[in-house]
Each structure stands twice: as structure tokens, then as C-alpha cells.
Subunit: 235 residues, 2 copies
Amino acid sequence: MTEQNSPRPSRRERPAKPALTRDGIIGTAVALMRAEGLQRVTMRRLAQELDTGPASLYVYVRNTAELHAAVLDDLLGAVDLTPVGASGDWRDRLVRVLTSYTNVLFEHPGLARSALVARPSGERYLDLLDALLALLGEGGVPGERAAWAVDLLLQFATSTAAEHAAGEKDPADAEGEWAALAAALRGASGERHPHVAALGTELLSGPGEARLDWGFQVLINGVLHTPRPGTPDTP
Amino acid sequence: MTEQNSPRPSRRERPAKPALTRDGIIGTAVALMRAEGLQRVTMRRLAQELDTGPASLYVYVRNTAELHAAVLDDLLGAVDLTPVGASGDWRDRLVRVLTSYTNVLFEHPGLARSALVARPSGERYLDLLDALLALLGEGGVPGERAAWAVDLLLQFATSTAAEHAAGEKDPADAEGEWAALAAALRGASGERHPHVAALGTELLSGPGEARLDWGFQVLINGVLHTPRPGTPDTP
DNA sequence: ACCTGAACACCGTTCAAGT
DNA sequence: ACCTGAACACCGTTCAAGT
């Protein structure tokens, strides 16, 4: 995989045609994404960038989903895992790692979307899994419960980031949609939807950051209080 | 919106060209999805079904995302909300509603995917929101906390369904990807990834149903134990 | 083995022109 | 106002043929 920010294609100076290898392809894909956004990282556009036809890429990459998964794994190198070895409350450190992961995905919500479907399984992803398991272990969460908990935590973080994929291309769409939901909630009839009407705008309240953090706290507290089925309920 | 299973386009017998109205379009889209899957519900294919050109649809539907959102709201009519008024433990009834919602989405994971990005705001969605708020209220969850909790619960259910979108077209892709993750976990080095290596296959264990149910329990327990920031911590 | 030109079978969306 | 033919600007993927 490409190292973060080291697009050195060879020791010669900028050849017109970068080497056609899996790593070269993925490195170019990452650069293309940073330059033009994920929506431009298509087989055709990428092939054009590499001065070849799209068919050539299929020698190294099974399909577009796999390409995006590889790009994501590369991006995961930017997640800050230093809180694992730091001192302080394990919960705080766990939330810090998860927040870093979410922030990385926030930069490319489309990638979060695809991560939900094509789970990554690269080296950086394993690094992240191991970090989360280490912190849950520190917190005394039994191993078999932690195994399920990491999934839950990452799914929440990933889907939160994916939700922002709407405004990626056209921010107006996202705003219009938010306005539609707000209008629907405000216009809720007290008869058919009494609870929605009673809460009203409360349902949309609060900055995203606070909701994300609250979500992490809910999950951690929940994991601490919920044994896995068929398992002794030692915390 | 279309009533479930009543594609009566007019009182005449099956005209070749159904009326071109928003409801007619969405009804046809739902039928097309049931017949050929969401991936065929495109503006072009839908226009063809309606014996017209794609441009005509843009009079009634802003874009593809809005079309899919409308289809989803129609589908939401199949969610079983009867547990709200039933007797028994509120937690069980809450989980039953959420499970029904998840099962509806499981039938069309692609729709779950799009729901994550383009949040629905139709009548059936409000019905669902109101049902969940009613049950949380019964459980004594304070209103402003319940307002955030429904989001969390629906996000978890929706993203769980969305994860299955991989195998929708080509099940081989989904299997290959699962195998890749399994291989990566099994091959985890005890040095770089000790916790992953120690848990090994445990990370993938258990039937999806059990994990879904455990997830709901974690969220409910977590919500019960986690006050919203800046709020008195009365349960 | 690796690479590719060309083709197949599609997309979403816009716009000028019609009724 | 509503509707549409035609066009613009793209897609993913495969395959037969070349090197």
C-alpha cells in the first residue's frame, strides 16, 4: 500500500507513465481522490490518469468496490492510535481513537458509505481493531463481548460518517433534505403523531459532535451492562 | 403514496400508459423494484416502464435520491407497529418494532443504503418515529434523551441492513469479501495484532440475528444509563 | 503473462422545442 | 404548465486480439 503522502513513482523524475502495479494504481487512486473527490475515482478516470485503458486495471483490481476498499485502507493510516499507549481513563482514550477514525471518514463520506458494504480487511484496519480491543480489554470487557463490541462501535462511527455523503457533490441537496425533514417534524399532527409533535425540533437538536460523543458513551455503557447471550454476566 | 399492494392505476382495465403523476410514478417504481430489484429502478428504466422519456419524470421527482426515498417510505408501510399498543415489557415490544423495521430493510438492502444518506421524512417514517418514542416514553426515558435515542436505534438498524447490500447483485462478491476478512483475521500476527490474534474467529462468530438483538439490548441499556449532556441524570 | 482497443449495455440530467 | 426528443457527459465490465 501507499505510504501517506509519498507519491514517489520511481527514482527517475516524474515519468509520464507510472508503473502499472497494484500499489501504483491504488496510490494514484488516493491522489486522484484527494485532488478531485471520490466521485471521480472511477475505473475509466483512473485509467486515464495512468495513461491506459480501463481494461488494464482489471488485472490488478477485481472491481470498483475492491478499489475503494483499498483506498480506504490507505486512508486508515491517518487514524490516531496513540491514545492506546497513553495514560488516563480507558474510556476517554477509546473515544479519542473512535473520534479520530470518524474524523478521517468525515473527510470522505463516500468512502464511509462503501466501507459499510465492503468491509475493509487491510493491515491498517487490523491496527485499528487491535487498538480498540486493547482498550476494551483494559476496561475489563470480556474478550468474546469485546469481539462484538468493536463491530458495534465501528458500525456506528462509519454510518455516522456515511450519513454526510449526501452533501458531498451538491450541498444544496443535503440542505433541502434536512429542511424537508424539519418541515415534516414541525408539521407533525398532534393526533396522528403526538410524541413527534411534543418533541418537535428537539429531534434535530444539538451539534453533530455532541451527538457523536453521546452515541459513543451510550455504546460503551451499554456494552458494559450487556453480557453476550449464553455467557456468564461478569463485567 | 401508494397503498401496499394496490397498483390500481385507474378504474379502466390496465391502460398501456398509467397516469403520469407523482403517486403513479412511485407506485410503478415500487412494483419495478419488487419485480427486478432496486438496481433496476433507474430514471431511464422507470421512464421506459411508464412509456415515456426520462426527462418527463423530473417534473415530479427532483432526482434519483428523492425517488428512492419515496420508494422507501412506501415500503415502511410494512413495518409492524402493533407491539406499541400490545401488553408486555416495553423493552421487548421496542425490540419487536425495531426488528420488524430491520427485516423490511433486509429485503432491499440497497434501500437501506440510500436511507442512510437521504433520510426519509414521509408519513410512514413519522409513524415509526412516533411508535419508538411512545415505547421509550413508557420505559421512562426522558423526552429529550428519547429524541436522540430513536436516531441511534434507527441508525443501527438501518446500517445493519445496509451492510447486506454487497451480495445483492452478485452473492459471490459478498462471500469472497467475507473470506478475505476471515483470512486477514486468522492470519493476524501475534506480534503486531496480539488482541486480534487472541480472539481470532470469535470476531466473526455468531448468527447475525443474535448480534442484531444484542446490539438492540446494548443500545437500550446504554440509553438508560447515559444522560444527555447538560441535563439532569434522572432515569 | 500482461496489456489493450473496442464494444456492449447501460447511467443521470439538462435543455430547447413542442403541445 | 406539462411533456419530450435528443443530446451531453459520463459509467462498469468483458473479450478477442495483440505483445
